[in-house]
Point group: C2
Chain length 617, copies 2
């Protein structure tokens, strides 16, 4: 089960881990807890207001015949409403908020009224367009919309116990299962999404037909039913895919759905394809931020090592999809490499997608900019804003996983949590200043023998681990430190991860990063922004490979650790010649103490040049 | 007078220097003298043979009605014949070769027979195409062909004293002056060339009308007569040009012609435009090899700092044009910066255009290649092969210049020479192992007071100078060391230029050279080729900025100094990850002693990757 809830323990028998219930984890940190609070107080109410302003809710009212008018906006705009419901539901799972609770109920009423008696629900395909239903799966996103409805409905049910939206979802899902399947209508969703939603609906309802339909949709790929393009990932049967290609969000949503399917049916060919695609992504096509999708054209993956910085597409939704997919891969395997990527994408691929004040969004996330790229209040195609919101409000559910072996700590942040491990209650109190400090303390309240799996992030070269004050050398198992013992009330575990800032360099085939380095501290990727560097064009900054990086906490941009060091400004305007011997070129360079900030925090102040991959002196 | 002959000392009164007669300098070195010999023995006879094979000479015979058939090849193919005549003429000026002398006479006969009674001469515009003469100056190159005829004729006359071709040229030139000019036909040559040829014809004949026509053609630019494109350098009047743009060869030929005109009429606005264009070229648009023209599209200059290596166009003819223009700029000013560029373009932009065996040519000169780019025996558009040949055979005339102040040594190579300085005979014997060693010895035989101007190459950071064994500190005047004295028979001058190999780095705005360095020794730019580096992909080689470069003379590729040093191989296939901390990345690097060869010598052995701009470790 991939959504962050414990629901039916009999499901997902090919998954090693199970997610924990979102409400079993209470974040108490200043990083994520504050951001979740911001979602409830600012972002979600504002998104509701914009959805009203932009006709997204009116589309439901028009479809229901309650108000007159024409459908407006993109034909997939229903999904923004669904993702908003999903985001609010996660928020409500861990926070009391009467106003939002009532607001979401009101919105669900609008959705309900727009549903046809036969269960069909898509506000675009109403009135004269009714006849076009299910006629163009390649382009028209009906199943994509359905998928978001199902995910919202499951989230709402799990968060509130109410079945109002789940009933609607099931009616539509049943309609779809009546239309599509072996011996019924053939079809492949042009924009994947419904696959993972159907598997989750199966987990939620125990109704096998949803799982079967998810499998059907995945098995139908590669037959050319939607044109056979690699853009649509329809050029080959899924199990034969070798290279991650096509529209980045579609590709990663599809992989997420296929991983969900794999957790249920354990099909080796599916698992092998997923491993190949993952390997191809992370070794050839992923930005250092965990973002994906190099090209604006087709919002797509590029060729291997095609990772331009200034023209990166790196859609926020693609980083979210990468996060979701890696969460599912983690559940199948219990391997830390997947949680590493979740963390990377979370801090650096997803979080930049929303402004510090929670009111503006990036759709496209370049890794270098001259100062013109700014977050927007909304987009005509507004997939990213509610997608960021649902990801942030669901975060408590991703911190841990459980398995019969014990408790897995995937992501680090202060929290108090309660889990059931093989029938025993376990309470955990975690304290850390992550991601700024690598010390993480756990207080365990339990009376049971089990393993505590602590993720050993790949970036942490050294670490130390203490149990009740005694240093131990834990077993390291595929990226997790395993502490197996009989736990007692008051047991403490102290993990000290090496979180020194350091440089990264890039694979020599990534042309755009040649001769450049990136700065990173723990999971956080840094960038240079003009505002912290005397307003100069940070593209002119060079740093030596042996730079001494110094950290300093600053109470700005929501509280960040900045990283400083001695670099050089190589100002093109000071060069009178095209070519110079190094000694002469060095005389044109001016020393500078540079200041780097987390990449996620860029473009929240005065516009100016920004750069992640910095020239090496 | 820009061609390498002393002819009419009354001309070019706005030039500070005069060229010396080509036959006053006898090269005795092993570098250029051997190459000139190769031209006479191999290249020029072979080019004649290919011109017969490809119908270039038959076009003249057909035009004359001596043989039947159709004009074949490009409409400007006559120029290959003219440039060949020019190259042979220069060769004959310094070498006895009865066979070539007779051959060139034979070819001139063919040319003569193809000329119309009215003086018109272009083998393409004959028979049914006669009616199209002078109807499309923008595209059809009639004046370009005429220009090459004039240059060949002047060279042939100066070298042999014969007027056979000069008479033909004058007849055609007179025809052209009857057609074009103020109150006659307006027009701008689509491909500049005739401008410099007309000025030279004026110098040769003393006939003012040729100079006037050259001025007319330059003044007519920018009026839109040939479409007003920047490709044709017709977007602005010449005197208003700020940026060097358009087709690189056309642009640089035009500048050469305008500089010739400037030497005669001293028009400040012309001189200022030339200075602006020169500055723009060398500070923003010139390859480190002295080559010009970044783009294949339009064979043109790119934007400022657009200097890609693998996709460089860098046509051999454009480097020749750069050499010719800088020679003219040198004559106007006596400033060493122009001779520096002549030398740079000669060794690194022009010389790569011909194979070591003198039989194959590059048209396009990339600065990085994967092993597929090879010299060809000939081209359909074969402008480069005879252009390289005429440049090499004319080299003796570029070594020195003279002025009333004395003798100017522009380029260094062993030679014995005789000049007239203000009526006094001066004999010089120069000995050097240039370009491999920086020591240059002169033995002077004179009985006169004058200045000896020795170019102080920009690349030579340190130098020492001895006169008759005594160290002197010469006056440095705009790139020339000035030794003024009363010279006597037996005086010796020993110049010791610092010619240590060193690195070059590139202006920070040249994106394609970011994080890269080039190796250079004196005027010679080096490259890495697979054959000297264990066959590895030299694109994977990295060298540290503080590399110790060691020289070693090798008896290969015509005799070259190779440069060795300790570098690293960063093999992409050894990288399993996309991003690594520098220490881990360093573990993937393997030490290597690299060997670099002169760039001009590349692609003469087994095909393999080549690179000029090498990654910095």
């Amino acid at each position: 089960m991939s959504q962050a809830f414990v629901v039916n323990a009999n499901r997902s028998k090919y998954a090693r881990l199970k997610p924990v219930s979102i409400d079993s984890v209470k974040l108490t940190d200043s990083f994520w807890a504050n951001r979740i609070k911001l979602m409830g107080e600012v972002t979600l109410p504002l998104q509701y207001q914009i959805m009203e302003e932009t006709g997204r809710l009116d589309n439901f009212r028009i479809a229901a015949g309650k108000v007159s008018g024409e459908f407006s906006g993109f034909f997939f705009n229903d999904t923004d409403v669904y993702k908003w419901i999903e985001a609010v539901s996660y928020f409500l799972a861990t926070n009391r908020d009467e106003k939002l609770d009532q607001l979401v109920d009101k919105v669900i009423e609008e959705v309900k009224d727009a549903q046809d008696p036969d269960g069909y629900l898509d506000t675009y395909f109403t009135f004269s367009r009714k006849q076009d239903r299910w006629t163009n799966l390649k382009d028209m996103h009906e199943l994509y919309c359905a998928g978001h409805l199902f995910q919202a409905a499951i989230a709402h049910h799990r968060a509130t116990g109410k079945t109002s939206l789940l009933d609607i979802a099931i009616r539509f899902a049943d309609h779809i299962t009546r239309v599509f399947g072996p011996d019924k209508k053939e079809g492949v969703p042009g924009h994947p999404e419904v696959e993972m939603a159907l598997v989750e609906l199966y987990r939620e309802t125990n109704d096998q037909k949803y799982l079967d339909l998810a499998k059907f949709f995945i098995d139908e790929r590669g037959k050319g039913l939607i044109g056979g393009s690699s853009y649509h990932i329809d050029h080959k049967p899924f199990r034969e895919l070798e290279e991650i290609v096509g529209h980045a969000v579609r590709s990663l949503y599809l992989n997420s759905g296929a991983t969900d399917l794999y957790m249920e049916i354990g099909d080796k060919a599916l698992g092998n394809a997923l491993e190949r695609l993952w390997d191809n992504l992370v070794t050839k096509k992923m930005y250092v931020t965990g973002a994906a999708g190099a090209r604006h054209e087709g919002e797509s993956f590029g060729d291997p090592y095609e990772l331009p910085n200034e023209t990166a597409y790196a859609e926020t939704c693609a980083a979210i999809a990468n996060f979701m997919w890696n969460h599912r891969m983690l559940l199948t395997s219990g391997e830390g490499r997947f949680a590493d990527l979740m963390e990377l994408a979370l801090y650096n691929g997803i979080l930049p997608g929303i402004s510090i004040d929670g009111k503006e969004y990036f759709y496209v996330n370049p890794l270098a900019d001259r100062g013109g790229h700014r977050r927007q209040r909304w987009f005509a195609c507004a997939c990213c804003p509610p997608n960021v919101a649902r990801t942030i409000t669901s975060l408590p559910g991703y911190m841990y996983s459980v398995s019969p072996e014990g408790i897995w700590v995937n992501l680090y942040a202060s929290n108090v949590s309660e889990f059931d491990v093989n029938g025993s209650a376990v309470a955990i109190e975690e304290k850390t200043d992550y991601p700024w400090e690598g010390v993480v303390e756990f207080k365990i309240d339990a009376d049971a023998a089990f393993s505590l799996f602590l993720r050993k992030p790949e970036w942490s070269r050294e670490f130390s681990l203490n149990v009740n004050g005694e240093k131990i050398k834990p077993v390291l198992e595929k990226g997790y430190m395993v502490i197996n013992r009989k736990w007692q009330k008051g047991d403490t575990v102290t993990l000290d991860l090496d979180m020194k800032p350091e440089l990264w360099e890039s694979h020599p085939s990534v042309k755009d990063n040649a001769g450049r380095v990136a700065i990173r501290k723990g999971p956080v990727v840094y960038c240079l922004e003009a505002e912290d560097n005397s307003g100069i064009n940070v593209w002119d900054i060079e740093i030596p490979k042996d730079v001494k990086l110094v950290e300093e906490y600053k109470n700005m941009l929501g509280g960040i650790m900045v990283i400083k060091g001695k670099g050089w400004v190589n100002d093109p305007s000071s060069w009178e010649k095209l070519y110079l011997p190094p000694e002469e070129a060095d005389r044109l360079r001016n020393e500078l103490e540079f200041t780097a900030i987390p990449y996620y925090a860029w473009a929240n102040r005065t516009p100016g040049p920004m750069e992640v991959w910095i020239k090496r002196k």
